[in-house]
Amino acid sequence: MQTTAKRLAGRLAAHAALPAALFAISLSSAASAAPAGDKLVIQAGRIVTQAGPDILDGVIVIENGRITAIGPSSEVEKPWDAPVLGGPELTAFPGFVEAQTSDGMDRPNENLDVAPFLDIADSVDPVAYYFEDCLRWGITTVNIQQGNDCVVAGQGMIVRPVGLTIEEMVVRPRFGTKIAVAPKRGKSRATQLQVLRAAFDDLRRYLEELVQKERDERGYAAREALFQGRDLEGEENQGRTMGGTAWKVDGLDLIPRGAIDEKMAPLLEIVEGRRPVFLYCGAAMDVPHALAVARENGFLARTTLLIDPSCWKASDLIAEAGVPVILDGDQMHVRRNPVSGEEEETFVPGVLKEKGIRFALSSQNANTNSLWYQAALAVGKGLTRQEALDAVTKVPAEILGMGPEIGSLETGKLGNVLLLSGDPLRVTTWVERVVIEGREVYDRAKDVRNKHLLEGKQPPGTAAEAAEHDEGGETDEAKDKGDAKDQDEDKK
């Protein structure tokens, strides 16, 4: 982690020459100006709590990052020393939750097929425009997982989209692992599944060999670990019987947990049911294989399926398995009828709802980066307003195991609050302010890049100006860096 921080610091120093960095810095300095622990009172003409009826002329009190009181202005006692944010013209809403994305990573995919030992933290770029966009569209919690082009991916993490270092951003480190059943580039479905099954076979063989060696030669595992320079202290020094519901390796209790190779440890966590898995299916035919692998290795209960829209055809299987899903991409599955040649559209959330499957929508979509828009479109096509809003707040919060923390505005939950110019699903509504854990981190009035998108205005010396590199008025150095960045994005 120390090396990560050092590398980040180096990267930031390089960015300092870029006007682009100015905006990011101004955002996060606003964040550090109001350290967690401060009190904040949010006022709104209407609070959509997502936990009961709306509150008119309401107040939210946040202390030490958490909501301590919420209710009508007349009933809630406001701390005398707390700054007040908002006004009667605004609507308060809980921050949107991105159930899963690879955005914000320097590059989303990894060459290694099976790499559960890698940590996304080394790959997240805190100054990526993506995180700015999150605030602009009201996303306050992001689950970052490696891209879908993998077999067993590295360890993901949950972040808040604000901060200059990964340490500032992290909400849950080393959270979850993505596993893909749809073939990685260059693989067929057969080799993909073979590599996937082999990964768990390898784990089993490794553990069995380790136990055998330990039995042959008492203290082997501990000596090996010490030889590799690893500390075996406290809990790490303890052996435990293997957990989980699928297969077991007898005698694992002989091995100190800290002595298990860190390349294998995350997979063991998966088999023991201690690590959430995001299982990617690129087509309906992947779904039965995905569920079988999850069952064979005991992680079905910790599985969330990440599905391509075409997977609606396997919705009966998904419903039977009882796993939640994240819809990856467009809500409308469009295909050509092979007989008539005509286009047929299927509204996927409608099918999921009908089958009783819990689902989250995601904003990885060709035309928009925003969860509000996804939810609104779903209402137009037949979801109720509550179902649609839940699919971008409460359900993803539950999928991330953060149900008691985020997804609605209730006493005791984190103070992640949006102040909107109107109803969350109206097409003319803008995110005016964003509060994350009691700190104001976004103010639309100061968002120069949004002003650029909306009005084409480019205030001099800003990120917006540097981004539009076909315009004059920038240094060659900045231009070169801008071009390099563009090329990186092209590679994705």
Binding site: E343, T346, F347, A366, A376, G380, R426, E455
Partner: protein, 410 residues
């Protein structure tokens, strides 16, 4: 869509009905709000449709047997740049200035994309030749549904003359090397300068020919000249593909040099940059689909308030979805995005109905809900253009082609 059986549809799929499934020639549509695009909205009103035309519009429930109900009703939408029906294969190679050619000869009415437009509420489009010629030919207004024949679908044959400036007409053209410059294989022009020159030369030739008299001219060339002169006389609008400021400027200077009264810029993403120039020229503006990054073709930056800016100048404004596959980016959504950028609702409605109809001269039949006009009517499940609303029913020429009662059961 005639070939499809009304049964056996995919689960939850929105399907356009077979014509035979709803062969009624009279309907009464009741709605909480009727947006006519010809005056104020009518609360609690009706639209009565008979024999393919609108028979009455007004407040109250109306009378009649076949009743449909919806939250809101609007005219069918019109897309002047749906980019449908023609491909690069229909680019004429023998000339760069094919003004006398008509696109109607090249429209593929069997493409599945017509159905996509129809079920998303676009009932008429302007079909233009593909933009690889500087002057592509005559564009036509057609309906997006009905029997797949020209006779059944054509609204207006020579509705506008299509031209293109910018990089598209010269894209892929090579300068001759090691072969005679007259070779068929070297298309010209090869630069923006060349494109502009070809366009100006075409107009110059047409004007010169008129002064000289055209008795001896080849009949094809005479026809080409006559089309160009019709645009100068204002009998025919010119619709020019121009995205970036430099290309919009070229269009404006062309308009002023040859005094072309009705000039429409299509794809005009940077129309917001020089509003004074735009207002001076009195252009019609067709905007491309909104993108969340603002980046469009030709490195043009499409600011989100572009539609609102053009509207404030009092210029004719039309929106377009360019035939988007994604249901979150079609024409109804484009109107919503324009509202997000500051366009008032009434103007957003006009920009997908009556404005485009007027711009290509089909407002006698299309573009608003008025007695005697074609019965192209949309039924919505909420306020039109809100992201939470969708088109749930479509009548085309008075025929129910998307049944709102099916959507309700979804």
């Amino acid at each position: 869509m005639i070939r499809r059986l009304p049964t056996g549809l995919a689960l939850g799929a929105l399907a356009v009905l077979g014509a035979s499934a709803a062969a009624q020639d009279a309907w009464v549509i009741r709605a909480e709000t009727i947006y006519t695009a010809a005056g104020d909205p009518i609360a609690g009103g009706h639209v009565r449709v008979e024999k393919g035309k609108i028979a009455s519009v007004g407040s109250g429930p109306g009378s009649g047997a076949n009743v449909l109900e919806a939250a809101a009703v609007t005219p069918g939408m019109i897309d002047l740049s749906a980019r449908i029906g023609t491909t690069e294969l229909s680019v004429e190679q023998s000339t760069e200035t094919a003004a006398e050619l008509s696109v109607v000869e090249a429209i593929d009415f069997f493409s599945f994309r017509w159905d996509r437009e129809l079920r998303s509420g676009v009932t008429a489009v302007l079909v233009s030749p593909y933009d690889n010629d500087v002057i592509g030919g005559l564009a036509a207004v057609v309906k997006t549904g009905g029997p797949p024949t020209l006779e059944a679908r054509l609204v207006k044959e020579a509705a506008a003359l299509r031209a293109a400036i910018g990089s598209q007409p010269s894209a892929g053209n090579r300068t001759p090397r090691g072969a005679p410059p007259s070779s068929f294989y070297f298309r010209r022009p090869t630069t923006r300068m060349g494109v502009e020159w070809v366009l100006r030369k075409a107009y110059w030739d047409a004007i010169q020919a008129a002064e000289r008299g055209e008795a001896d001219t080849d009949p094809h060339v005479r026809a080409r000249h006559e089309v160009l002169r019709r645009t100068i006389r204002g009998e025919l609008p010119v619709i020019v593909d121009a995205w970036a400021t430099q290309d919009i400027r070229t269009a404006i200077f062309l308009k002023e040099e040859f005094q072309i009264p009705r000039l429409i810029v299509d794809g005009a993403a940077e129309a917001w940059r020089e509003p004074e120039l735009l207002a001076r020229a009195g252009l019609g503006v067709v905007l491309p689909p909104h993108v969340f990054t603002g980046r469009t073709r030709e490195e043009a930056f499409f600011a989100w308030d572009c539609a609102a800016t053009v509207e404030e100048l009092g210029l004719p404004l039309a929106l377009s979805a360019h035939g988007a596959r994604d249901f979150g980016a079609r024409l109804d959504r484009q109107a919503g995005f324009a509202m997000r950028g500051g366009l008032p609702f009434a103007a957003a409605l006009a920009s997908v109905t009556i404005h485009p109809a007027r711009m290509v001269g089909v407002d006698d039949r299309l573009g608003s809900l008025e007695v005697g006009k074609d019965a192209d009517v949309l039924l919505w499940n909420g306020t039109p253009f809100e992201a939470t609303s969708a088109v749930i029913g479509v009548l085309l020429n008075g025929e129910l082609v998307l049944d709102p009662r099916a959507a309700a059961g979804q």
